[in-house]
């Protein structure tokens, strides 16, 4: 479990442990996941893929549920877009 993975969240490097989800990387970066339709910052609610609050863009693909995707080396994550 000591293995770690480096990804980038909004261009800034973040290191998480192997097996961590993208949601964890976003939270670790200190930012929030998305901006709601009325402009509020949002972060994960359910942690299990049902609430869709943790949506971010991963490697250019928008609207991914970050709690359902495992981090891979050098992933580019855009949060709060």
């Amino acid at each position: 479990m000591s293995e770690s993975i480096s990804v980038r969240v909004n261009g800034r490097p973040v290191t998480v442990r192997a097996g961590a989800t993208v949601a964890v990387a976003v939270l670790a970066s200190g930012t929030t996941c998305r901006t709601s339709v009325s402009g509020q910052p949002r972060s994960p609610l359910c942690g299990m893929g049902t609430c869709f609050e943790c949506r971010v863009a991963i490697n250019g693909v928008p609207q991914r549920r970050s709690c359902q995707v495992l981090c891979e080396a050098n992933m580019e994550i855009e949060a709060n877009g």
Binding site: R17, A23, V24, S38, S43, G47, M48, Q63, Q68
Partner: protein, 427 residues
């Protein structure tokens, strides 16, 4: 356009939590082809999330070892979005998947019930199961101040887990009454095999304040939660915190069984003694048939797996085990009924639908879930009402009746890919 994978199984199991894993393994005993499909990237569901890589021997490791050695084909990271005419349609990251099957076992588990209160949309206010899932997925919480609130045994499990991860758990706010909570503990001690678990929680939670008749009234913070105001036996107080984990027990994931036409009673899938639903050849196991926890889910899963492969004798052997743990369903129901005060937490401007940002006041204008959807866009966002519909059901007493394919937002290319086949959505 995405590629389409065509798969065919004698038995397909939807949901790779404990019930689904048990069902798939039991079905595979017959030598028939078995598929196990789940939205999550890895098997385990919520309760066994991340357990596959757990270094030490746990109850789950026996099941995971059996799964690894079995012929069960696991399809991870794939969402089932439609079911019709003996076929399932699913979508993974890179393809649409069409699955034909002989028998279907639904083991879609449960999710948390969330109730709106001012500030519940702030970042770092999350479900109790939500916090646990994130911790199991690698969230670092050492030294952080956490308040756990809501109702149900999950509060205790998550408080214990968060503490083990190094969090400062400031308190557990349980909305049920003290007598009900004590009764719950006593009754669970008497369920065979449960006493060690109850005592372990009591030990793990020592020193953490556990308040009954207590619930969150509002959360405050600038861009993330900084404090929570709680009502405790009629008095309010404020607690500064970094995380507020709040969930009001569990509700079944019944979208798929509803879409398959399975009969439900009071929100739960009706099954016969072999876990078969009202639809012949479609079985259901675990939380969608009644919230009863791990052991019941395992027993129901095995029964469903054996019954789906016409191995009734083996299924029958598990009836007594299932009956033993079925008691837990009633114990939970008695212990954690939601109190009416929780209906008054939302203010007019408190959002109920988090996808479309629909405030409570906009729902008060309507008299049904359907009207609220059509006129206020409540439940019309990507979660498709999975969060706000159960809340609206509790707040307004509305019947939530509509399930339409696709039950998950999918790529147009996935819809197009299955369009020419019978499983293509009609709506």
């Amino acid at each position: 356009m995405d590629s389409v994978k065509h798969l065919r199984f004698d038995v397909i199991v939807v949901g790779a939590g404990p019930a689904g894993i048990a069902a798939a393994l039991a079905a595979a005993d017959s030598g028939k082809s078995v598929g196990l499909i789940d939205d999550n990237p890895t098997a385990g569901g919520q309760i066994w999330r991340g357990s596959q890589s757990a270094p030490r021997k746990s109850a789950s490791s026996i099941w995971f070892n059996r799964l690894r050695k079995s012929a069960v084909q696991i399809i991870g990271g794939a969402r089932v979005f439609h079911a019709a005419n003996g076929e399932l349609a699913a979508e993974s990251d890179d393809s649409a998947i069409q699955i034909t099957y002989g028998k279907l076992i639904i083991a879609t588990g449960a999710r948390e019930l969330f109730l709106p209160f001012p500030g519940w949309t702030l970042p770092n206010v999350m479900g109790t199961g939500g916090l646990q899932a994130l911790l199991k997925s690698g969230l670092e919480i050492a030294g952080k101040r956490v308040v756990i609130a809501g109702t149900g045994p999950l509060l205790l499990a998550v408080a214990a887990y968060a503490r083990k991860c190094g969090a400062k758990v400031l308190g557990i706010c349980e909305q049920t009454t003290r007598p009900r909570m004590v009764g719950f503990g006593m009754k669970m001690l008497l369920v065979r095999g449960k006493a060690p678990e109850v005592l372990r929680f009591a030990y793990d939670l020592r020193g953490i304040p556990h308040w009954t008749d207590c619930w969150p009234v509002a959360a405050f913070g600038n861009r993330r939660v900084e404090s929570v105001r709680i009502s405790r036996q009629g008095l309010t107080s404020e607690i500064e915190c970094d995380y507020l984990a709040c969930g009001f027990h569990l509700i079944p994931n019944s979208e798929l069984p509803r879409m398959c036409g399975c009969r439900l009673q009071q929100g739960f899938v009706q099954v016969d003694e072999y876990q078969q639903t009202s639809v012949a050849g479609t079985f259901c196991a675990g939380e969608p048939t009644g919230i009863g926890g791990l052991e019941l889910a395992l027993a129901e899963g095995e029964i469903a797996g054996y019954a789906a492969t016409n191995w009734e004798d083996r299924a029958k052997h598990l009836f007594a085990k299932r009956a033993r743990y079925q008691k837990v369903v009633g114990i939970l129901k008695d212990a954690f009924p939601l109190r009416p005060e929780l209906k008054n937490l939302a203010r007019p401007d408190t959002l109920v639908c988090r996808c479309e940002d629909v405030p409570h006041v906009r729902l008060c204008e309507h008299s049904s879930w359907r009207a609220a959807k059509l006129h206020a866009r409540c439940g019309m966002g990507p979660c498709q009402g999975r969060v706000c519909a159960p809340a609206a059901e509790f707040l307004f007493g509305w019947e939530i009746d509509s399930v339409r394919p696709p039950v998950f937002p999918v790529r147009c290319s996935s819809l197009a890919a299955i369009r020419s086949h019978s499983a293509a959505p009609r709506n």
